[in-house]
């Protein structure tokens, strides 16, 4: 790991001032980076994927950034809230159980106690080509995505090309499903990006997975009112300290069912045909199965991830049934 300067700031404004204005993401990653929980950052720095001169710790700005508050029927979740806090929060469990479930099944207890909501939503891909220095891949400025012809068992079946990563966020599908507001502050002011619009496909920008600019900070995620039912369902070969093979979040909002998949595409992936079939109808086993079949329409599996299509169908069906209060295998 390259030596770096460690800067503590006591406010979001001070953190923004410490960031390079009008800089490219490449410059940001080279010169100065924000540190929240530090889980993802440390991994990348140890592999020398990132060698910033300076780290700006947001810990001193916890008063502004950490905590879960009710705002009428909505929930405001500070970016520095830990996954453990999210998983056990009574308001979240009551109003948006899918989000609490997704947070509670991430990684392991030690990591959940440190990893933050902002960090989880903004972390870089866990792709084993991206994470190993031997592979100078597209996302590191190279000219090839090694997964396309290589070991693709954990890679994308939707929305991919030129990069085949899957978006790693455990919370992303739930946030996208409800159209959560991503509150962003930067040197030019504040903005709000809604739901899926926060995430970016590689065909738009292969060097990033979201819309954040180099001088911007994700400060808060606002979960809207009107969630009637929700459930998160993951399929895992390993039950702890591992990424789900496939995940699905199903949410019933006032205007109908939203179904978003995790670990299948470079962004949290809306299963739109599934949603069309479902509308606002009450879930039956037969309807869930029919809607789940539609979730794989248009999928383009690689050499080693064909099995994901079956897992997607099962995850969608079971998340819908779970959201409807029906019994599903654990």
């Amino acid at each position: 790991m390259k030596p770096f300067q460690y800067v503590e700031v006591s406010s979001v404004d001070a953190a923004i001032r410490a960031l390079p204005a009008d800089a490219s993401m490449e410059k940001y990653r080279r010169e100065v980076m924000l540190k929240a929980g530090g889980i993802d950052l440390l991994d990348q720095m140890k592999e020398r994927m990132l060698e910033p001169d300076r780290l700006v710790s947001l810990r001193g700005a916890e008063a502004e950034l950490r905590g879960i508050k009710a705002d009428g029927g909505a929930l405001r979740i500070g970016a520095l809230t830990t996954l453990a806090e999210l998983a056990k929060n009574p308001l979240v469990k009551e109003r948006f159980p899918a989000l609490a479930e997704a947070a509670g099944s991430a990684a392991n207890p030690q990591i959940r106690n440190v990893a933050t909501v902002g960090g989880n939503l903004c972390q870089r891909p866990r792709c084993w080509y991206f994470r190993n220095s031997e592979f100078h891949c597209l996302k590191k400025g190279g000219d090839v995505c090694f997964a396309k012809e290589g070991e693709s068992q954990y890679h994308a079946v939707f929305g991919a090309g030129p990069s085949y990563i899957v978006h790693p966020s455990n919370l992303g599908p739930a946030a996208a499903a409800v159209g959560a507001e991503f509150h962003i502050r930067g040197s030019k002011g504040s903005r709000v990006v809604r739901g899926e619009e926060f995430f970016v496909l590689p065909e738009v920008n292969v060097m990033a997975e979201n819309v954040l600019n180099a001088d911007e900070i994700l400060t808060e995620v606002r979960i809207p009112d009107g969630i009637r039912r929700s459930a998160h369902y993951e399929i895992r070969d390993k039950q702890v300290y591992a990424w789900p093979l496939v995940a699905a979040t199903s949410v019933l909002m006032e205007d109908g069912w939203k179904v978003v998949l995790g670990a299948v595409a470079p962004v949290p992936w809306r299963a739109r045909q599934t949603e069309t079939i479902l509308g606002s109808r009450p879930i039956t086993a037969a309807l869930a199965a029919e809607a789940a079949e539609a979730a794989v329409v248009g999928a383009a599996p690689l050499r080693h991830n064909q099995y994901k299509l079956q897992l997607i169908k099962v995850a969608v069906r079971r998340s819908l049934m779970k959201a409807a209060g029906m019994e599903v295998p654990a």
Binding site: R131, S133, I235, V240, Y241
Partner: protein, 687 residues
């Protein structure tokens, strides 16, 4: 956790903790990785990122020019496998060695590595005419046959403490703090690098964070530390990082195994054919498998090793056995089915080992084998299955060793051996054996292990340590007791033969009357200590062996292919069992490692350039706490097993086969290659 059965007895009825439990859980135990000496320098290797690779350019001057970088040397410019060393760096800090490697700005080219083992293995070779005739004759007599190809993956050791050492060369002698499972074998590998006689080199290893067969000699890392320490006349630390550990510290070779078994109408195996391809590293060796002593009739066996572009294998817990028994126990269940027999019935017909035959029945009772349905008879989304697998260990011979016991005037007893506690609780074994044999309180006895300067003891390999040191420790214990009794006899004017030690006191043999307390007796030693050395005396060896049986219960989600192991019953004989808790812990460890091999672990190479894609514990999947089934370790102590025998390795052997058979029983289709992933289960189910 243990189920008590009439045979589940240990030699010494105690529930004592591991003697170093407190030190290990509080962090007081210092591992070699923890050693830092004043004025120390650091070394590491320059490695190739790819297989079949050639270094095209480098900037040696830039790396050497960094202040604090002491040496940057290349030893080669080509590499057969990714991660192979081509040179080394020495610097004042770990950071500087990384900076030096970055400054080299190496450019590499690579050819086409051999990463597709199945393609490299090719087709089943034809038999010689004579053998083919023999096979034809066997098949002509057969009423039933079973035929199958089975495959196992490359498994990594994943020692939590990485490989390496701190070498402290001091001119006329050296002390080396090594993470090793062989203090003396490590020492013998570095005397040349240090330019010292072995009598001037001490290798210490008080605690080790895992070795599993990969830490016998010094390795290139130990030799580099010694070379640099001597060159700079300063202590030198060389430890691999997690990635180096994953790509260049050995592995359990993969395998492809062909079986054709022919049975008569009663299910007795007549013979058949077995061919094994071993998936090894760049040298074609080390890939054969081992199997238990089932009666396989006229089985024609053959084996060939197939080189692939990766580091050479090293022994890994029961080398060859888990892969061999996964395949043999898998084909056994298919053969049983072909004969219309229950898998345990089939083993009763074809397994002549009397101890294991007893264990099958015990396993059946413990797992509830009578609940087992026919393969594929379960319906529903989640299906349960039961499976069985077998294990054994070769207990031939006793490694050279001697054990010194010192008794101090305050009554304390120290036991010395150069052998090390690889984590199997060897220290606890010594303490329990000696305290029990000398009839003194356990608290008075300390095991001093892990220094090559102590009396010679074996490396922790082949599960030889317990069975080799136990007879010597017992001999030494008797000599120490005799020494004390002789002093007491002289003091009290009685014959030593008329005295004995019981419950921490010297007593008269005849009536048990107390003569004096242990501490009082030890005062007679005087100001120094009494020292005795136990050697190889026939009568302390005893008899025994290490048979085992594993029964597994699994739950398979037939829609997702996810397998959850619900219960493992692991029955293991080990001659005379000694420390109950530590022995059961050893069995549980084997069960967990077997589960990881069956369901999760696999070293994966990128096909095009041979680099590992999962050289870390994120994507090299090890079972975690939430993956744990109920594990029931059973120490089986058959009649006549009077000597301490091997326990370290055998508990892993039967587990993968038992799990694979349980999966096949649950879903009515067989996954023929490990690990049994959701993708493979779905493929077997044709979902």
């Amino acid at each position: 956790m243990a189920t008590t059965t009439p045979r589940n007895r240990v030699a010494i009825e105690n529930d004592g903790n591991r003697v170093d439990a407190r030190a290990k859980v509080t962090g007081a135990a210092k591992y070699s990785y923890d050693v830092n000496l004043p004025n120390m320098v650091y070394g590491t290797f320059i490695r190739s990122p790819f297989a079949e690779a050639k270094l095209v350019s480098k900037n040696l001057e830039a790396a050497r020019g960094i202040p604090g970088v002491l040496a940057v040397e290349f030893t080669g410019e080509t590499a057969e496998y990714a991660g192979q060393d081509v040179g080394y760096v020495c610097a004042e800090t770990p950071q500087l060695i990384q900076d030096a490697i970055a400054a080299l700005q190496m450019k590499w080219e690579h050819g086409t590595p051999t990463t597709n083992f199945r393609r490299a293995a090719g087709r089943l070779p034809e038999l010689q005419a004579e053998e083919q005739a023999k096979l034809d004759a066997t098949l002509a007599k057969a009423a039933h046959t079973a035929e199958m190809y089975l495959e196992t993956q490359v498994q990594h050791h994943v020692s939590l403490e990485v490989h390496g050492c701190v070498a402290d060369y001091k001119g006329d002698h050296a002390v080396v703090y090594a993470s090793t499972q062989g203090t003396t074998s490590f020492r013998d590998g570095i005397t040349g690098d240090l330019g010292l006689d072995k009598s001037a080199v001490e290798v210490r290893c008080e605690f080790i964070g895992g070795g599993f067969g990969s830490k016998f000699g010094p390795g290139i890392e130990g030799k580099l530390a010694c070379t640099l320490s001597k060159r700079f006349n300063r202590p030198c630390k060389v430890f691999l990082d997690r990635k180096e550990e994953s790509i260049d510290s050995g592995m359990r070779p993969g395998s492809r195994q062909y079986y054709l078994l022919a049975m008569d109408e009663k299910g007795k195996i007549l013979g058949g054919r077995n061919h094994v391809w071993g998936q090894v590293g760049v040298r074609p060796r080390g890939g054969n498998v081992r199997v238990v002593g089932y009666d396989l009739g006229d089985l024609i066996r053959s084996h060939v090793d197939v080189s692939t572009s990766q580091c050479p294998p090293r022994p890994q817990r029961a080398p060859g056995w888990p892969q061999g028994m996964f395949a043999l126990d898998s084909i056994f269940d298919e053969a049983a089915k072909a004969c219309g027999l229950d898998p345990i019935q089939f083993r009763m017909i074809n397994d002549p080992n009397p101890v294991r035959r007893e264990q099958y029945e015990l396993a059946a009772r413990e797992i509830g084998w009578d609940r087992r349905k026919a393969d594929g008879a379960e319906t529903g989304v989640i299906r349960r299955g039961l499976g069985i697998g077998a294990a054994e260990w070769h207990n031939q011979g006793f490694a050279p060793a001697s054990v010194e016991i010192r008794v101090y005037p305050d009554g304390r007893v120290d036991v010395f051996s150069a052998t090390q506690d690889i984590g199997t609780a060897t220290k606890t074994l010594f303490v329990d054996l000696v305290a029990n044999h000398m009839k003194v309180p356990r608290e008075l006895v300390t095991a001093k292990l892990g220094s090559s300067s102590y009396p010679g003891g074996p490396a922790s390999g082949g599960s030889v340590v317990a069975r080799s040191v136990a007879p010597r420790a017992l001999h030494a214990a008797d000599l120490a007791t005799e020494g004390i009794l002789t002093l007491v006899a002289k003091e009290t004017g009685q014959s030593a033969e008329s005295l004995a030690v019981r419950d921490g006191a010297v007593v008269k043999k005849a009536d048990g009357a107390k003569v004096m307390g242990w501490a009082e007796a030890c005062k007679l030693i005087g100001s120094d200590h009494l020292s005795v050395t136990g050697t190889d005396v026939e009568k302390y060896r005893g008899e025994g062996n290490s048979e085992g049986v594993c029964a597994a219960e699994v739950e398979v989600d037939t829609e997702t292919g996810v397998v959850k192991v619900k219960k493992l019953v692991v029955i293991q004989a080990c001659g005379l069992p000694v420390s109950r808790k530590a022995s059961e812990s050893q069995i549980v460890g084997g069960a967990i490692q077997g589960l990881g091999f069956a369901l999760l672990e696999e070293k994966i190479l990128n096909e095009a350039n041979g680099a590992s894609v999962n050289p870390n514990m994120e994507w090299y999947k090890l079972p975690g706490p939430a993956d744990m089934p109920e594990i029931i370790p059973i120490l089986h102590h058959p009649e006549g097993y009077t000597g301490v025998r091997s326990l370290g390795e055998p508990p892993i052997i039967g587990v993968p086969g038992a799990i694979a058979n349980a999966v096949a029983n649950a879903i009515g289709a067989r996954v023929t290659s490990l690990p049994i992933t959701p993708a493979k289960v779905l493929a077997a189910l044709q979902v």
